[in-house]
Symmetry: C2
Subunit: 283 residues, 2 copies
């Protein structure tokens, strides 16, 4: 497994792989791998001849009061785990390599980023789309793999790729969960032991929403208020949002007709957690 730190070198590597007819799969990450990341790499490995994983804690997607400086990092452990899965290249650029002095270009996907996390994290998705546009141009993959835990991110990236005619396929893979149901996230390490039961209200409330749906409830506001009530009963919880929306446009839905997504963001003590569920799917 190779580690590449320079954009030019990464582009050369990908050009050379492409010229040999190899299919490149890309897994962009901020590192501190959990089983969710590893599963993305495993699936990427099945779909391509060459797997590139980027590890880059992208500053432009963090708000000024967010956890950029304390975001967990462990390159050596990440590198070991990627190697075990058979990753070919880790792309590991510095901030100076990604945003040199005078940097001033941003990619913005307007509509699908307006709701949900776009409301509570202004600028977040612009940082995500900008760094992904850069990474796609550097890694030149045929496919890029994202986890559906960050569902709005997945939809936003898909939209950017279609709108800007980027010639690659975006693949979304199901959320990987801990044994107790908590969605895997690098931020789970922030949780203290006594906060864990409160963190589980996210998955439990999604199950509650599915149960209401199974019982025939289709009014979004009824499901949302029950979910909010359920979460609020647990200590340490502070709801950012509970939304039922169209899974393509990310717009709020009043009445569930066809496909619909319930998405939530909850602060558990100091840790902001997100989760989501498509009605009708297994949970």
């Amino acid at each position: 497994m190779k580690t590449i730190e320079l954009t030019r070198e990464m582009q050369k590597y990908s050009d050379s792989s492409r010229s040999k007819g190899k299919k490149i799969a890309f897994v962009p990450t901020m590192g501190y791998f959990h089983e969710g990341h590893i599963e993305l790499m495993r699936q990427a490995k099945k779909m391509a001849d060459c797997v590139v994983v980027s590890i880059y804690v992208n500053p432009t997607q963090f708000g000024p009061k967010e956890d950029l400086s304390r975001y967990p990092r462990d390159f050596d452990r990440d590198s070991e785990r990627a190697k075990e899965v058979g990753v070919d290249v880790i792309f590991y650029p510095s901030n100076k390599e990604m945003y040199p002095e005078g940097y001033q270009t941003y990619v913005n996907v307007e509509d699908v980023t307006k709701n949900l996390c776009g409301l509570s994290r202004p600028g977040h998705f612009c940082g995500v789309t900008t760094v992904c546009a850069k990474l796609f141009n550097i890694v030149k993959p045929h496919i890029a793999v994202f986890g559906k835990k960050d569902y709005q991110q997945y939809v936003t990236i898909k939209r950017m790729v279609a709108d800007l005619n980027m010639d690659l396929e975006i693949i979304g893979l199901p959320t990987v969960r801990e044994a107790d149901g908590l969605a895997m996230s690098s931020r789970n390490v922030y949780l203290k032991e006594n906060e864990r039961p409160s963190a589980l209200t996210l998955i439990d409330s999604l199950r509650l929403a599915q149960k209401l749906y199974d019982q025939g409830e289709r009014k979004a506001s009824t499901i949302i208020s029950q979910v909010e009530k359920f979460i609020s009963q647990s200590p340490y919880t502070d709801i950012d949002y509970v939304k039922i929306c169209d899974p393509e446009t990310m717009r709020d839905i009043e009445k569930i007709r066809d496909s619909a997504l319930i998405a939530l963001a909850v602060k558990v003590a100091q840790t902001r957690l997100i989760d989501n569920h498509a009605f009708g799917e297994l949970i």
Copy 2:
């Protein structure tokens, strides 16, 4: 010469050319070719194995009160002229192909677009960078060629390409002029015969600025006020801006030390014209 209307087909053509080791040069245009366009194609032909020219009057770079609907078009004539120069492909997409329903992604270069035309044409450069990002992803060129008549556009595109790690080279070529010195522009057809002398105040005022520079003048405000005075003396002229700026950052300069650009935009009757000159170069 081939004409391609679909993005997917264009991408396939370029993939195939690239896989044969061919170097692709790209000339993005809004059509209605003049000698400036033709010269870009000729130079592109010298630098590559395959020349792709796009003809697309991009609606997102026109303001609501600008000349989108009356912008001159003549595909058949353009096609003939491109064929004569040896262009390999004309990419000629529809609006529906470029901006299908639900389109919502924009690329913005922040700093270099703030001054000059960015002041008088809000949103213009965002439209330019967005369509160029799209076209670069569709045509997949090794090099793209732009005229320096639109100097700020050239600098903006260069900046976008560097910032977003697009793997292509942007080449700027000198302004091509009519025999009387007027910078070639598709918009020159709007000029009536009696407005022509006023249109020539642009090039004449640039020559005046160079003369003042040659006489030792380095204070931008002095040169600017003389240029403004000169242009204002002609009928039909309405100055949008006269600026002396750094040719990389596009920021105003007070005192000329190293390289500096004088750029101007003047409305002559109904026609908005622009021109520019780098101090020290021949004019």
